[in-house]
Amino acid sequence: MPGLFIDVKVADAVAKDPELAKKLEEVCPVSIFRANDSGVEIVEENLDECVLCDLCIQAAPDGQVQVVKLYES
């Protein structure tokens, strides 16, 4: 189920990068990223728990991870 309040987007260019996947899994305090064989997976049921800490954004190359506040749109 997608988030009601938050969406997280990982650009196709980096979504299959196993190193970045691992990093994202590690930094997110509420387990929104899961590293698997094909790269990074978004754990949808955790999306609304996002604490807007920006750690994922800092861990990824510029602009490759986006955290979207759906209530602002």
């Binding site: 009601l4 309040f5 609304d48 728990e49 604490v51 807007l52 506040k69 209530y71 602002e72």
Partner: protein, 403 residues
């Protein structure tokens, strides 16, 4: 956390308060055996965590041990205010010349312990205070500074007791004050404290409530009294709603959304933060509102936790709206709670703007939280509206005060 009468008396015995002969019986045979040891007439009292035993027929008198097994069988199955008896206390029946009332409790307004004494014990103290105020004294004392027997003596003397009776009562009352302080009690009560026809003073009935948070400090005492670690000792068994509330809190370690207590009103409460729960609950009642529940949220609960608590409260029959109100928060995030309650409403099939009477949580991340509430059309307020005013707004949305 309540103690049974026999446990209260075991605590009193530790401090040498005068008690009659007696013992706890868990079988009909034991009842007879305790009575035999006492010799003479006895009283059998159901051990429940509730008052009203006499009215319920759960206190009986026997002339000797032979009558005790049958009386035990009669008393044990009686439920007193929904409480089942754990055992039966068998005690000597003593000829009483006069009864007194002594209680030490906590005065939340004065933030001090208060000693209540009356020379008209054995009956409802509120009634005595109303009809014979000169027979009740109320004395506050410090929980920090040393206390002396003089405080007890003056409290007793204020009701007109003097001479030998005053001298004999003083050490008993003073000891009760010390017990109250030493064991972090919220209530230490002896009613009646009797003067027997032979001149002795004894504790006929006693009740003790310990602050639940103090359990850890008194493990040795609780173990000695046989109070199990899993025994909550509340005045009544938790309801299905309260058990469900406990589960909401337990399944997720993040923050607190618990201590749910069921009431029969129509306004669900999602309340908390720094004493906010009690204040807000009282404020709703003061405005004439009828809370459907009490609860405590804080410590930055997750969205899931706030959502599940909201769903639970909205699922309670009779709940028409919820009020989401907290004191100013620092570690709890306004936006996280806002997400949780809005989600809880939506997952319950309700429109947040219809069902949330008011959202009043000021503090960290409030701007972000308010954006969410605006998106869903929920009425909210910041810290410029007091908790009391916010409670008033919620009650007004319910149609105002209900009688």
């Amino acid at each position: 956390m309540r103690f049974y009468e026999y446990e209260s008396k075991a605590l009193f015995a530790r401090h040498r308060l005068p008690l009659g002969k007696g013992g706890v019986a868990r079988s009909r045979e034991e009842a007879a055996s305790v009575a035999r040891e006492i010799g003479g007439p006895v009283v059998l009292k159901s051990q429940v965590l509730s008052g009203g035993r006499m009215k319920a027929g759960a206190v009986k008198f026997a002339d000797g041990p032979d009558e005790c097994p049958a009386l035990f069988d009669q008393i044990l199955p009686i439920e007193v205010n929904g409480q089942k008896a754990r055992s039966v206390l068998v005690e000597e029946k003593s000829p009483v010349a006069q009864e007194y009332f002594v209680s030490v409790t906590w005065d939340g307004r004065r933030k001090l312990p208060v000693l209540l004494f009356s020379d008209m014990g054995g009956i409802d103290i509120e009634e005595v205070a109303e009809k014979h105020p000169e027979h009740v004294s109320k004395t506050h004392f410090s929980s920090i500074l040393p206390i002396t027997p003089r405080i007890a003596k003056e409290a007793i003397a204020a009701t007109g007791v003097s001479g030998g009776h005053l001298n004999k009562l003083t050490p008993i009352v003073f000891e009760l004050m010390k017990i109250f302080l030493e064991y972090d009690l919220t209530l230490a009560e002896v009613n009646p404290l009797a003067r027997l026809e032979d001149g002795r003073f004894i504790v006929l009935d006693g009740h003790v409530d310990m602050e639940a948070e103090a359990r850890g400090r008194h493990k040795a005492l609780l173990a000695e009294l046989g109070v199990g670690e899993d025994e909550t000792r509340q005045a009544r068994e938790p309801t299905a709603f309260e058990i469900a509330g406990r589960k909401v809190n337990e399944v997720d370690h993040r923050g607190v959304a618990g201590n749910v207590v069921e009431f029969d009103g129509n306004l669900g409460l999602v309340i908390g933060a720094g004493g906010g729960s009690l204040t807000l609950f009282d404020a709703v009642r003061k405005h004439g509102g009828k809370p459907a529940n009490y609860c405590e949220i804080g410590g930055n609960p997750s969205v899931t936790k706030a959502c599940e608590l909201t769903k639970l409260i909205l699922s309670k029959p009779g709940v028409e709206k919820i009020a989401v109100m907290m004191n100013v928060v620092s570690n709890t995030r306004v936006d996280i709670v806002a997400r949780g309650v809005v989600k809880g409403c939506l997952e319950s099939g309700k429109d947040p703007k219809d069902v949330i009477a008011i959202f009043r949580i000021p503090g960290s991340w409030e701007d972000e939280g308010f954006k969410i509430l605006e998106k869903y059309g929920v009425e909210y307020c910041d810290r410029s509206i007091s908790m009391y005013e916010a409670a008033g707004k919620a009650v007004a949305k319910m149609g105002g005060a209900t009688s």
